[in-house]
């Protein structure tokens, strides 16, 4: 099981990141859930300085940009086995 968190207050890029993650992983053999973290107090506990932030199983993987789909898939495969 992979827990993916999207850190962002609802800006356009945060929504786009969420869509990208869903699109990238929909065809993959990854059991995942996406949680949107929109409260600044919660977002900032991850110590990020720009949104959107992408977190997989509590590891911050990217901030302030939207990673490529292939990168998202690679991370998902890497972090789902890490647990």
């Amino acid at each position: 099981m992979l827990t993916i968190k999207i850190l962002g207050s609802g800006c356009p890029n945060c929504k786009r990141l969420e869509r990208e993650v869903n699109d990238a992983l929909s065809g993959q053999a990854v059991d995942f859930e996406v949680i949107k973290v929109t409260d600044y107090a919660d977002i900032m506990t991850y110590g990020i300085m720009s949104t959107p932030g992408l977190v997989m199983n509590e590891t911050v993987l990217s901030t302030g940009r939207i990673p490529k789909r292939q990168q998202i898939i690679d991370w998902a495969l890497q972090y789902q086995t890490a647990e």
Partner: protein, 353 residues
């Protein structure tokens, strides 16, 4: 990653080649715009050179592609530079400086980062978490929205590089000065309490941060290309509408029609322009071409610049977002200090130029 290392070096040069070819095409197009506009208006459409409608049309045919080309090219360069900026590193650098130099650096940093009001809050909290004084944080928060890359490029295209640099220099100065003033006012109590609560908690032990790889040039070009498409896609229509209205003013409004209202002699025009600019926000891209046409009709440059800074720096959406981390009183002080700084800058320019 491993694949990238195996790639032959020739492939690495391809993105540079593409960018170089585009740059050459860009220069050829940009340098021939006036000739094309003249040819279309006076040869193809057969207007006489004295015709007012012809003049307005020529202005429009020349300015529209010019500004859109300039926007695409410059925004690409600016966003390319931005791919090198790491907010965490910036925080580390600013953290080590005290008042003064810290304000200057925060303000410079604010000038080059893209401003999206939704990214200002995490950055604000990040600065506070690092123990960076509030005044320095405000220097960033003030300069960042004042220095709008679209506004900068439009000024460059319509008013020339002197005015564009003047805008850059005054934006940075306003950030430094207003930050220094706000820093002296002991406003820490007017920051929302939860911001400090996060600070006290510190880093969560369970949170690990994966080290991000440095992007390749190809990725940087791609990123800059995407950002450019996004930014230009958002503003092009406003720019064209603005140029359309500007062209009309250019052709039909008599010279000096505005010198009484917006000229340097009218003392009240600067504060009026700033007040008027606060509720106007999303149309900043369209306002500049209009304003540039007004300048040719007797409006004063200081008034015009003050108006533009007010449009881009003080806006309702931004205040609503800042409300999440600042108490209302601090927002009011923030708006007041920034507005007064902009008004003074406007007067200064009207006096000097």
């Amino acid at each position: 990653m491993q694949l990238a290392q195996l790639k032959p070096t020739r492939k690495d040069q391809r993105p540079f080649l593409i960018v170089a070819v585009l740059a050459v095409l860009w220069f050829i197009a940009y340098n021939n715009l006036q000739a094309i506009a003249d040819w279309v208006t006076y040869t193809v459409l057969d207007f006489s050179r004295e015709d007012q409608l012809g003049e307005a049309l020529n202005f429009f045919i020349y300015d529209t592609p010019k500004l859109l080309l300039l926007l695409s090219g410059m925004i690409f360069l600016i966003t390319l530079v931005q791919t090198f900026i790491d907010t965490n590193k910036v925080r580390e650098v600013v953290e080590k400086r005290g008042e003064g130099i810290g304000n200057l650096m925060a303000s410079l940093f604010g000038a080059i980062t893209p401003f999206c009001s939704c990214s200002s809050v995490p950055l604000f909290i990040g600065f506070v978490q690092a123990g960076i004084p509030l005044g320095i944080t405000f220097s960033f928060l003030i300069t960042s929205p004042i220095m709008n890359e679209v506004a900068f490029v439009l000024l460059l295209g319509l008013f020339g590089w002197k005015v564009a640099l003047l805008y850059l220099a005054s934006g940075i100065t306003i950030g430094i000065v207003a930050g220094l003033i706000l820093g002296r006012m002991n406003l820490e109590n007017y920051v929302e309490d939860f911001v400090y609560a996060i600070k006290a908690k510190g880093g969560q032990p369970g949170v690990a941060v994966a080290i991000e790889e440095k992007p390749t040039w190809e990725e940087r070009f791609q990123q800059a290309g995407e950002s450019t498409r996004e930014i230009v896609g958002k503003v092009w229509l406003f720019v064209i509408i603005g140029i359309g209205i500007g062209a009309f003013i250019h052709g039909f409004v008599p010279e000096d029609a505005l010198s009484d209202v917006m000229g340097a002699g009218a003392w009240w025009s600067v504060p009026a322009a700033v007040l008027l600019g606060i509720p106007l926000y999303s149309n900043a891209a369209g306002i500049i071409p209009i304003v540039s046409a007004l300048l040719g009709k007797g409006a004063a440059l200081g008034t015009v610049l003050a108006f533009m800074m007010s449009v881009v720096a003080l806006s309702l959406p931004e205040m609503i977002i800042l409300r999440k981390v600042l108490k209302p009183r601090l927002i009011a002080i923030f708006v007041g200090v920034v507005a007064v700084s902009i008004i003074l800058t406007g007067y200064l320019f009207n006096l000097v130029i």
